[in-house]
Symmetry: C2
Subunit: 168 residues, 2 copies
């Protein structure tokens, strides 16, 4: 949520994302949900989160369309919170955070890794351009802003604020 803060009204897609997952509990909840923990008590125990807080965060994630509240038992009424397609799509962000944490904040070595279950080989996560396969860390890649930055002409490098001081 973080709707009360100055995150609101920004155009930058990063800021837009942060409006929904800018609170760290939400990220940890999504991590668990994507790992298969979808029930209230699983999440609560696994995360060590206070129930009231969990309720609140789950509601926000459902509202944001990242989780779906689904009935899995009629009597008694029981719900589970499963990732939507949008929630699934958040996986890349999680993996990026995972790789970053492993590289820089894991003195005793990686505690969680991404593994190919067929080969058993540990993956080495990198962001690339899907079309060319080239890593986006290549300095040739830049962030470009402007109206409909999707067009291939008339784009402007983000080496200065978009509109003369305007916020992204």
């Amino acid at each position: 949520m973080v709707a009360h803060t100055s995150l609101e009204g920004r155009e930058c897609p990063i800021a837009r994302s942060l409006q929904h997952v800018g609170e760290w509990w939400n990220i940890l909840i999504l991590r668990d949900a994507l790992a298969g923990f979808t029930r209230f008590d699983e999440l609560q125990r696994n995360l060590g989160i206070a129930p009231a807080m969990l309720t609140k965060r789950l509601r926000a994630l459902v509202e944001a369309g990242l989780l779906e509240k689904r009935l899995y038992s009629d009597r008694p009424q029981r719900f589970e919170y499963v990732p939507t397609a949008r929630g699934e799509d958040f996986r890349d962000v999680l993996v990026a955070l995972l790789a970053f944490g492993n590289r820089h904040f894991a003195p005793e070595g990686p505690s969680v890794t991404v593994v190919d279950t067929r080969t058993g080989i540990v993956a080495d996560p990198v962001m690339v351009d899907a079309a060319s396969g080239r890593p986006l860390s290549d300095p040739a890649f830049r962030w470009v802003s402007g109206p409909m930055a999707g067009s291939q002409t008339r784009s402007r490098y983000v080496m200065g604020p978009p509109e003369g001081g305007q916020r992204w």
Copy 2:
């Protein structure tokens, strides 16, 4: 920082990352710093952040080793905050958030994109395994935890809490 919260003491690399970049201001500051805005007033104007808050966040980012406070003028004393190698390495997370935001929270279309400056072509960011080039969204890839998850044997899928209820 977020050091006072229950983020502390977790082993999960995602949680570890969040300890340092879990606050959304930090992420936006890194975004700007990586885009070339390294001076206090650039950041302040560009972000619309209160000066005291900016000071605090910059200090945290420097302490976390993501930014380096560097003297660029002697008289008067002036500092700039440039991304360290570790800060550079955060780029993938930013790009993941950017792509996610563009895909799901940009009703009017992408406002910022990653572009190959040589070809002018807009990149399509995906997380892949560097070795094989395969997208990590492939269901064959799973998150694995355990002591030194880097080893290729004796790993356990994270389909249950690591140590019987223990937090990640």
